[in-house]
């Protein structure tokens, strides 16, 4: 399929698509839910199997097959409730796609969540949305209210005898709440310190009950897979990372925006054809392809690389959230990294020593280098500090903080060294 003729699925241009009647009329809204609830062939297992076959790769950052995750839920025990947590925390810097869904297609999230709850025999879905999205929380709540009023959520949905609730929970400003176990602690009304795993949420999740966590966009793909089948979905985009993809393109391009195209687009097509190239006729310096934590790419690394896990792996990076930040030749990469490190330092929950201390040290040492007071040994010390953080903490925030430091130093070493050699003076790009 040529991306130029691609018809948008998640963010259609249909006016008022966020309204229930338009979603029903123009988007076959809630028909996928009706189908799974009423048609014999859609047993719970059949839904899980179809979603698994479609290989919807989680859009929250880790790219895990959603249906496979669903299949990890233990057999239902009578009287033990089960929950879906829908992750709308969207706080990874560079990520700005879920907000568009809240505004322009909230019902696909709600319908997908209801289908997921049916498939995994869950009592309720909690849609957790970052507190800063106050206006968008109201929009999603309005859509949930519409769904209840129409009998698509709540008791005895469409006369099927199924009861599934959908609730919206408002966060209050903490990036860590996007980490799945922190999100559960936050929903439980505790200080949101991530939990160590195991036990995994499928065993011990929300309020100690079996739980699955999915990103809002991930569940938003589900109604389409049910409506059109896994084979249709597998035919879109990259073979091993299929489906529509919301590319949040930001930074030094002519036309930043959230673009919907098939997965597996060439990074160069996204930057030069879709987003109009670098603004002001400048040259490209670097691209961070999927949110602030994924390894940065130098301009000379992106030729022929596509937005899917397999291709990005060849240059040592990930799809992440597909929130792509484009940086031009004037970018001071050391200062850029300092600001990224400040983010993680600010957002570390402080539970684990390597993370709490390490994120602070990153900022201090990088600032020293930036001010011309650093030595080349500092660069090695920073890389060693990354070693002490990666894979050694309760949650992956420490890794998310270390990856940019490690990869920016390795891939832009000359930018750091320039600040070291010419004490105090800035490198002229």
């Amino acid at each position: 399929m040529d991306w130029r003729t691609y018809q948008k699925i998640l963010l259609p241009d249909t006016p008022d698509f966020h309204k229930l009647d338009v979603y029903e009329k123009e988007g076959q809204g809630y028909q996928a839910l009706r189908t799974v609830l009423t048609e014999e062939k859609w047993s719970r297992k059949a839904v899980v199997d179809e979603v698994k076959k479609a290989n919807i790769r989680g859009r929250g950052g880790a790219g895990f097959n959603a249906g496979l995750k669903w299949s990890f839920m233990p057999p239902k025990q009578e009287g033990v409730p089960r929950y879906l947590a829908v992750n709308g925390d969207e706080s990874e810097p560079g990520t700005c796609k879920d907000r568009r869904l809240f505004e322009y297609n909230p019902h696909t999230i709600i319908e997908g969540a209801l289908i997921a709850c049916y498939a995994m025999e869950m009592d309720a879905a909690y849609i957790y949305i970052r507190g800063e999205y106050a206006d968008w929380i109201d929009m999603v709540q309005a859509a949930v209210d519409e769904a209840y009023a129409k009998g698509y959520a709540g008791k005895n949905i469409m006369g099927s005898g199924q009861n599934i609730d959908v609730f919206v929970h408002k966060g209050a400003g903490a990036y860590i709440c996007g980490e799945e176990t922190s999100l559960m602690e936050s929903l439980e009304g505790k200080r949101p310190y991530p939990r160590s795993k195991p036990p995994f949420p499928a065993q011990v999740g929300l309020w100690g009950k079996p739980t699955t966590i999915n990103n809002v966009e991930t569940v938003g793909h589900v109604p389409h897979v049910i409506r059109n089948g896994a084979d249709w979905y597998l035919g879109i985009g990259a073979q091993t990372f299929p489906g529509p993809m919301l590319y949040g393109i930001s930074g030094h391009v002519q036309r930043p925006g959230v673009y919907e195209f098939p997965s597996g687009m060439l990074i160069t097509d996204l930057i030069y054809k879709v987003a109009g190239g670098i603004r002001g006729g400048k040259k490209l310096k670097a691209v961070v392809p999927g949110g602030s934590s994924v390894p940065i790419l130098r301009a000379d690394m992106i030729e022929g690389i596509t937005m899917d896990a397999d291709s990005l792996r060849t240059v040592g990076t990930f799809v992440g959230t597909a929130g792509m930040c484009v940086l031009d030749e004037d970018t001071d990469i050391v200062k850029f990294l300092i600001r990224v490190s400040q983010f993680y330092d600010h957002e570390s929950c402080g539970q684990c020593t390597p993370c709490r201390e390490g994120t602070g040290w990153f900022v201090k040492m990088l600032k020293r280098i930036d001010s011309g007071e650093g030595s080349t040994r500092d660069l090695d010390t920073l890389l060693e500090l990354c070693d002490t953080m990666e894979g050694r903490t309760v949650c992956a925030l420490a890794d998310a903080a270390a990856w940019p430091v490690r990869n920016t130093i390795i891939r832009f070493r000359e930018d750091f060294e320039a600040k070291i050699k010419f004490k105090g003076a800035y490198a002229v790009a």
Partner: protein
């Protein structure tokens, strides 16, 4: 100044009850109840936190522990309007820091970011999830102002000073029809 009476109205209590009914455990109502308290009192004083604790019947220390974790809950008395300018990641590269400095200079911010007239304060925000319209800012935990310029900041501050509402700025879906081949 008039003494504040630390009670919830019947409708606020009904609202908290509605939240309680969404969760199997009453502690989960802590965040929504704190939001209601902050809307009402402007910030979360010891008394406001105690009111929340008493209303949902959980220990004060627990509620305080939650309130103190999150940046959007104000733990000290703050001016009425907050301008939070994103200086993170993309915004940092698109002039967010300069916009924050400009805001602070315009309101005559002190070290805490509090403006001279005591009505507006400013601080840096982490990524607000609107990187494609960088630089952006958020006004008092709600409205976003996108693609900030100095002129937009001027207009914004004038509105806040006059007590006018900041309208919702709708960002249309990205136009995908233009392709540079």
């Amino acid at each position: 100044m008039e003494p504040v009476s630390y009670t919830f109205t019947e409708s606020e209590i009904a609202e908290i009850q509605r939240h309680l009914s969404k969760y199997p455990d009453k502690r989960s109502a802590v965040m929504p109840a704190l939001w209601i308290a902050q809307e009402k009192f402007g910030w979360l004083s010891e008394e406001a936190i105690k009111l929340v604790a008493d209303t949902i019947d959980i220990p004060y220390a627990h509620v305080y522990g939650v309130a103190s974790f999150y940046t959007m809950y104000f733990k000290e008395k703050v001016p009425e309007h907050l301008i939070e300018v994103c200086t993170c990641f993309t915004c940092g590269e698109m002039g967010g820091k300069e916009m924050l400095d400009y805001v602070k200079e315009k309101i005559g911010a002190d070290a805490r970011g509090f403006g001279k007239d005591g009505k507006i304060w400013a601080r840096a925000a982490e990524c607000l999830g609107a990187c494609d319209t960088a630089p952006v800012c958020q006004i008092t935990n709600r409205r976003y102002v996108h693609q900030l310029t100095k002129a937009k900041v001027d207009e914004l501050i004038a509105k806040l000073e006059k007590g006018e509402e900041i309208p919702y700025e709708r960002i249309p879906l990205t136009d995908q029809s233009i392709i540079d081949d």
